[in-house]
């Protein structure tokens, strides 16, 4: 029961109305703002359940959104902004996991499994490919004639 209650409280706390970007946060430069939005969509709201900071209304998400905008205004490019945030909050904050180290297995899983699957599919299909006789054999023709007569 304790778990359930904790879960409910968690959901209640985290799933509250999603208030996302507030009017006062928006940068005057439309291009910089657009970049901030894209970056925000890839950053996790750390106290939320699988929500990015762009959609979240948590106070921490707002702080992060402001931080991202601050870095952009300071002249960082997108990668530098991400590095800056990861340096402070760890890679947990990235919704798109890095492609380094053990994560290679994650990113390679799809293509590798697809190749394996297609390989197995081809092997199976080739095994099933028997000699399909184009026409009936003499024996079958005789049997057919007999059946038709009956």
């Amino acid at each position: 029961m304790k778990t359930m209650r904790a879960l409910v409280i968690l959901t209640v706390f985290l799933a509250a109305p999603l208030w996302a970007v507030q009017p006062d946060e928006i940068l005057p430069d439309a291009q910089q703002e657009a970049r901030a939005r894209v970056i925000s969509k890839g950053l996790r709201c750390l106290v939320c359940r699988n929500e990015n900071i762009d959609d979240s209304n948590a106070g921490l998400a707002r702080d992060l959104r402001l931080l991202v905008r601050e870095r952009i205004v300071a002249g960082d490019d997108d990668a530098e902004v991400l590095d800056f945030v990861v340096a402070r909050y760890g890679e947990f904050v990235l919704l798109r996991p890095k492609t380094t180290g053990s994560n290679i297995a994650l990113w390679a899983a799809g293509p590798v499994m697809l190749l394996l699957g297609i390989g197995m599919g081809i092997a199976f299909v080739r095994r099933r490919k028997g000699n399909i006789p184009a026409s009936l054999s003499d024996k079958e023709k005789a049997r057919l004639a007999q059946l038709l007569q009956d």
Partner: protein, 666 residues
């Protein structure tokens, strides 16, 4: 009193389930008819007892019996009746009870309608089905008893999460459960077939309708959940790749693969052991889905530690079901000999490709969902896998499926000539590519999603139409004859084309909303009019008023907006911001002007310190096509389900749906 009655009924059902697990199995092994026959009355009693228990729990919620722990934790006397009833399954204990209720219902249906089944197969199916029931009854009774009483009942309950107090979400879990549990039937048939050592066309004719029905329910359930997120969460997101969503999406993908491979077993007596394996996989993913949602394992490793008994129980059910059935498969899977021979280019090969793509896509979702857990346990890395990963890793599979589908659907069985099959599709191919190019030129450097998605959608829809047109020889014989032929086509063929076209519509909706959505965020004052630029049309939004009102169990701030195009009013929107005092929690109620080509979506936010209100508005092009496509897919499944060759099972199914939904009202 009724609570104790429900509790005893549940215990009685558990006892019956144990007997039904053992006796028919032994009977089938020894060839004792009476022992096999007892499965039928047992399955009916099991269902009735569970129904009684569920009825007792529903009654406790309806009359707000606060001496029950679950009712206190999940209900409140001031809640509207609909949500008192839906509160029955809006919690762990109640939802598990609904789960077994559906499980026993399906078992009873096989018992009652399965007269055509070979007696030993039927006995074994019911025994396996009952084995699953035993596990769940034990889980309920020993770790999650919904009828636990409180020594000192409080005056009122703690209420239900306001986000869940919504008609869309009231019926979302029952549909998902009908889907999850429907797959238990395919699983029981698969395991029974492994024990029997026989799989033939008749077996497939029994498995396919169950899988199809489960898939239809999952489709509806997922669509309902996604639609709910769209209008309730306040910014129109409709899919988040959340573990809970993935948990329902994986069984959906595997079920889609299974219902295609079952066709091969039925028509060509091939792919038998693969189909068995898929049936096992599909239900395994259902179980994982049920428990991910209920235990929160994937969201956090620590959820297990909080409640070790439940955690161990869940692990045991997983281990026995998945491990046991896979071991059985390893031992007996080789017995299934496939007869059908086919050439490399044939409908069979097309369906193999379909299966490879769907299953690998499901596994990609699975790997992404569990990766944070693996990374933490094995590599000590705390990381997240979110929507950007899934968008990148999953989308290519959908693109491949969409490209291959119209061709595969038209290939003849056994041996095909690719040139001959593709010829009627040339026109559709050219048109789709041309449409994609046109969009690409028009939108000058926007996202590639739109041209690709639109071309694929057009290709799928036209492909489905051409499939039907070719079947009825449009243009080759007089139109009247073609129409007559269309009327005589098997329902399954029409269902197939419908479902495939539905996939195209959904892809269209997804591509359009992803590529062309526009948004406006601002502080607006009462009396302001501001412009909202859509992809094509420009709207003016006038902010008329704000009122504070009182709802049945919430307070609300209601905005009043007029949407204008060229000075003419097209819609009147009243978005709300509600506050539920019992839960101490606010929710947003977006106001949406729903249209075929676009939704205008307005949300009102907080009052600003120096006057005015935060207002967000969106134009969401073709949003509804996402769910409309899902409905069309489900409709295609339904058409196929009513095909003549499934008549017995189909009739059973149609009765099932209203029954299962009517139960909570008792």
């Amino acid at each position: 009193m009724t609570a104790e009655l429900g509790h005893f009924a549940l215990i009685f059902a558990f006892m019956v389930a144990i007997v039904q697990m053992v006796v028919p199995q032994v009977g089938a092994y020894k060839g004792w008819n009476g022992w096999m026959q007892m499965a039928v009355p047992a399955s009916i009693v099991q269902f009735l007892m569970t129904l009684l228990a569920f009825g007792a729990l529903t009654y406790a919620f309806v009359v707000s019996d606060f001496s029950l722990n679950v009712v206190v934790a999940n209900s409140h006397s001031a809640k509207p009746m609909l949500y008192k009833i839906s509160g029955t399954w809006g919690n762990h204990e109640g939802s598990m009870l609904l789960w077994v209720l559906i499980l026993t219902l399906f078992g009873a249906m096989v018992g009652v309608f399965g007269r055509g089944l070979p007696p030993s197969l039927k006995a074994r199916v019911l025994s396996v089905q009952s084995t699953i029931a035993v596990a769940f009854f034990a889980f309920l009774l020993f770790t999650s008893n919904p009828f636990a009483r409180l020594a000192f009942p409080p005056m009122d309950g703690q209420g239900l999460n306001p986000l869940l107090q919504d008609p869309g979400l009231a019926f979302h879990p029952p549909f998902l459960y009908l889907g999850y549990v429907g797959l238990s039937m395919s699983f029981s048939f698969a395991v029974a077939a492994l024990i029997e050592g026989k799989v033939d066309a008749a077996w497939a004719r029994w498995v396919r309708p169950w899988t199809l029905a489960a898939w239809i329910f999952l489709t509806i359930g997922i669509a309902l959940g996604s639609w709910w997120a769209y209008y309730e969460l306040g910014w129109g997101g409709w899919w988040f790749w959340d573990p809970v969503e993935n948990a329902s999406f994986m069984p959906w993908l595997i079920a889609a693969a299974l219902l295609h491979s079952a066709i091969v077993v039925e028509k060509r007596e091939s792919l038998k052991s693969w189909t068995i394996l898929l049936a096992i996989l599909a239900f395994s993913f259902s179980l994982i889905g049920t428990f991910i949602v209920r235990s929160g394992v994937i969201t956090s490793v620590h959820a297990f530690a909080n409640d070790p008994t439940r955690g161990v129980f869940i692990l045991a059910i997983w281990g026995v079901t998945i491990g046991g059935s896979l071991t059985l498969f390893a031992a007996r899977g080789g017995v299934m000999t496939s007869k059908g021979i086919f050439s490399v280019i044939s409908r069979e090969s097309g369906l193999v490709l379909n299966n490879v793509l769907l299953v690998v896509a499901a596994l990609v979702v699975f790997v992404g969902t569990v990766w944070p857990l693996i990374a933490e346990l094995a590599f000590g890395r705390k990381l997240s896998v979110g929507a950007p990963f899934f968008d990148t890793a999953f989308t290519p599979f959908m693109i491949l499926i969409a490209i291959a589908l119209p061709v595969g659907a038209m290939l003849p069985w056994k041996r095909a000539y690719i040139g001959k099959t593709v010829r009627p599709l040339y026109g559709a191919l050219a048109l789709s590519v041309a449409l994609g190019l046109l969009i690409w030129v028009l939108q000058t450097g926007g996202r590639m999603m739109a041209p690709i998605g639109l071309a694929l959608a057009a290709w799928l829809v036209m492909g489905a139409l051409i499939d039907l047109a070719t079947r009825v020889r449009v243009g080759k014989i007089p139109l009247g004859d073609s129409l007559r032929r269309l009327g005589n086509l098997p329902r399954a063929d029409i269902g197939k084309a419908t479902a495939h076209a539905g996939l195209g519509l959904t892809i269209f909706g997804i591509a359009a909303i992803t590529a062309w959505e526009t948004e406006d965020i601002r502080v607006a004052h009462i009396g302001d009019t501001f412009a909202l630029q859509g992809a094509v049309t420009s709207y003016d939004i006038r902010f008329n008023n704000v009122e504070n009102l009182q709802g049945p169990n919430y307070r609300t701030t209601k905005g009043d907006f007029t949407v204008l195009v060229d000075g003419k009013e097209v819609a009147h929107l009243r978005p709300e911001k509600r506050f539920y005092p019992v839960a101490g929690m606010p929710t947003t109620e977006a106001a949406i002007d729903i249209g075929v080509t676009r939704d205008v979506y307005v949300v009102i936010g907080d009052a600003q310190q120096n006057g005015g209100w935060a207002v967000r508005s969106y134009v969401k092009p073709f949003a509804n096509w996402i769910w409309f496509g899902a409905i069309v897919m489900a409709l295609g499944g339904l058409l196929s389900l009513t095909d003549r060759r499934y008549r017995v099972a189909a009739g059973a199914k149609r009765k099932a749906a209203p029954m299962a939904q009517a139960t909570p009202a008792e």
